[in-house]
């Protein structure tokens, strides 16, 4: 036994301090980890270096946000245990001061160091106080309250409901983590956790002297009065590394934000979609990557992710932005979306770009046969892939490893078709021109429609081109029968690895994953990859 815990008679409460220090150790570890998954430039760099060795390892880096959330849950849990244990500790320390009876060990221990205020054990020094007052007057207590409050506010504003609807609240409140880390580092500076000094352990050995506490320091006793000192703060050693990395990350983003980005073209598509074509010196992208866009005139602090819809072979890069919230609406107006006449180039807002950052789409060309499934706006990364496929295969005459692409686009309404339909139409035309019609096979599924539209489809059933998209490939109605699709593909491509790529809702992901697993038999392997943002 050691003297750094004041025990009460009841056996169950002897270890309250250990119960507090254990989660504290876990918290040190978790707080070190939590900053790492959000250093996206660092991750991008790691991804590039690992990719040559192992593609699976690199793909794990896509799950950085999930990891960040898991570590956050652990921090919340350990904080709860830590606080609970300290509540008990405060009570015991207070009790030790209040039961002023010399025949009790806790009281004797509390009296140590009253004179010089240095070698004491009990952080509560007098009996004329209360745990609440002590909490607010010690460094540890005060920082503890502040960082716990910050943590709670961060957690409540990060709930899915708030995050999806009011991203700004989530983002700004999340910056309370700065206060959290500062408070965390200073939490141990008061050296409130005290232990017996090494020198004192020689003159007062607890296993021998604990029962003889009434004789300490008396002549003839083999036990001197024990001395205690505070433990030095440890947390900074754990978190200083990640904090520096994160500061570097923010500096990189700041540097990137000052690089000049020129908007070369703004296209307003129907169904509230804004296309921005941009150029930046030294920008290099791969298919299906995404960038973070910042518009200082709209908001100085917000960076929002958008998939790149242009192919690497083009001399500009573009993003299709759907107008759904405050920031996108303001961007739309800043680019002159609500005006009817074209804007002068100098009137367009200044933009900053961070990225590009990689996602699973980069793997598309490593498969011989590929199934691309996009739901609604989730089709955007595939726009980049299809364009790139076109450039590679036809114009540059390169020998692409990918031999066949099956493309599925699930759409709830006809309006969403327009800008992507243009792309498909031009692809279709060019493929027909070159005579390579069987390279790309696409299926568009309209999952909801109105009665009037249905009648229109029935009537024009015999028309040459599809009445909605104008494409030769007819639009299909309802949801695809995945079982049939997978079986059909498996039968046409035996002995190959088929990559299945999805950008869409999680339920669709689950069903595709199940189908991939169940149809992976014999020599055909379906490997499922999910995009996530």
């Amino acid at each position: 036994i050691k003297y750094h815990q004041l025990t009460r008679l009841s056996l169950t409460r002897q270890h309250a301090l250990s119960w507090a220090r254990a989660p504290a150790a876990c918290l040190n570890f978790n707080c070190m980890l939590i900053l790492l998954p959000v250093c996206r430039n660092l991750l991008s760099f790691l991804r590039g270096t690992i990719q040559c060795c192992s593609r699976t390892a690199a793909r794990q880096l896509d799950r950085n946000l999930t990891f960040h959330k898991l570590v956050a849950y652990m921090i919340a849990f350990h904080t709860a245990v830590h606080i609970g244990a300290h509540l008990f500790n405060f009570e015991f320390f207070m009790d030790a001061q209040l039961d002023r009876n010399s025949s009790l060990l806790p009281f004797i221990l509390s009296e140590i160091g009253t004179g010089d205020n240095a070698s004491f054990l009990n952080p509560i020094r007098t009996n004329e106080t209360s745990p609440t007052i002590v909490m607010f007057t010690t460094i540890a207590g005060l920082t503890g309250v502040v960082i716990t409050l910050a943590l709670i506010l961060i957690i409540t504003s990060s709930m899915e409901v708030i995050r999806r609807s009011y991203f700004e609240v989530f983002w700004y409140t999340h910056h309370l983590f700065v206060i959290f880390f500062i408070g965390l580092v200073f939490h141990g500076f008061g050296r409130i956790v005290r232990g017996q000094t090494a020198a004192s352990l020689k003159t007062n050995r607890p296993d021998v002297c604990a029962d003889q506490f009434e004789d300490w320091g008396n002549n003839g006793s083999e036990c001197a009065v024990p001395e205690f000192a505070g433990n030095p703060p440890m947390t900074w050693k754990w978190v200083v590394g990640p904090m520096i990395l994160y500061v570097c990350e923010r500096l990189v983003r700041l540097y990137r934000s000052h690089q000049k980005v020129v908007i070369t073209k703004v296209v307003m598509h129907p169904s509230k979609t804004l296309e921005l074509q941009m150029k930046r010196k030294g920008f290099h992208m791969e298919v299906g990557q995404y960038v973070f866009i910042q518009c200082p005139s709209v908001s100085r602090l917000e960076w929002h992710p958008f998939t790149l819809t242009s192919a690497p072979e083009e001399d500009y890069f573009s993003a299709h932005i759907r107008i759904v919230g405050d920031w996108t609406q303001a961007l739309y107006e800043a680019c002159g979306g609500d005006k009817t006449e074209p804007q002068e180039a100098w009137k367009l807002p200044k933009l900053a770009i961070d990225g590009p950052f990689g996602t699973a789409s980069e793997d598309v060309f490593r498969y011989e046969v590929v199934m691309l499934v996009g739901a609604g706006i989730g089709v955007t990364p595939f726009a980049s892939i299809l364009k790139s496929v076109w450039y590679k295969r036809i114009q540059n005459n390169q020998d692409v490893f990918t031999k066949k692409i099956y493309f599925y686009w699930l759409c709830p309404e006809t309006q969403a078709f327009e800008w992507f339909a243009d792309l498909l139409q031009s692809l279709e035309g060019q493929m027909a021109e070159k005579g390579v019609t069987d390279f790309l096979s696409y299926n568009i599924y309209l999952t909801r429609w109105k009665e009037t539209e249905a009648a229109h489809f029935r009537v024009h059933h015999e028309a040459e081109n599809d009445p909605i998209t104008g494409l030769k490939q007819k639009t299909l109605y309802g949801k695809p029968n995945w079982d049939n699709e997978f079986t059909h593909i498996a039968s046409k491509h035996p002995g190959t690895k088929v990559g299945v790529f999805l950008c869409g809702p999680p339920q669709l992901g689950k069903s595709l994953e199940k189908q991939s697993l169940s149809h992976t038999e014999g020599d055909v392997k379906f490997i499922f990859n999910k995009e996530n943002f």
Partner: protein, 187 residues
Amino acid sequence: MGKIEWAMWANEQALASGLILLTGGIVGVAGQFRGWPFAAYIISAAGVFVCLLEYPRSKRAKGTSVERTGQYCFTVCVKSFGPLTRNYYVRAFLHAAICVPGGFMLATVLGCVCLGIASLIYLAAAIRGEHWEPVLPQKETTRKTDPVSVRNPPEMPPPRPPPEVRRKRVDDLEGAAYDNPIPVSDK
């Protein structure tokens, strides 16, 4: 941050505070801290009350409301108090009043401060004119228009032109179109 409904965040914060108050009260009782009978019971009761009040999510003014699991019975209870629960000023002051006793015992101080913050956010929501609306299943108008519906199978065969017209007349697509004899309405 113009469009935010502050009440949504206040609701999350208040629910969390209720849980923290409850936990603090339980720890206080379990640990038999000083003052535990009075404070801990009051705090636990307050915590339970706040949780029950805050569990049902309000219907959003704009956009889809995501309900919490099983919140319907709570919605009915809370709705029955009428203007007391509808108005966010009342909620703000109520939470401010409830949180005060929590400050007297260390175990519940955290819950007290969190609830105080929730009360401030509710005040902001009330000033902006928000109010609590119950999420009732019958009131939800079906935004999804049914596809060629499974529920009401068509009573008449689809309007098709006679066979000679149906033959594919690629050369004269204009002539192949015809007026639908049966009027089609948007249900």
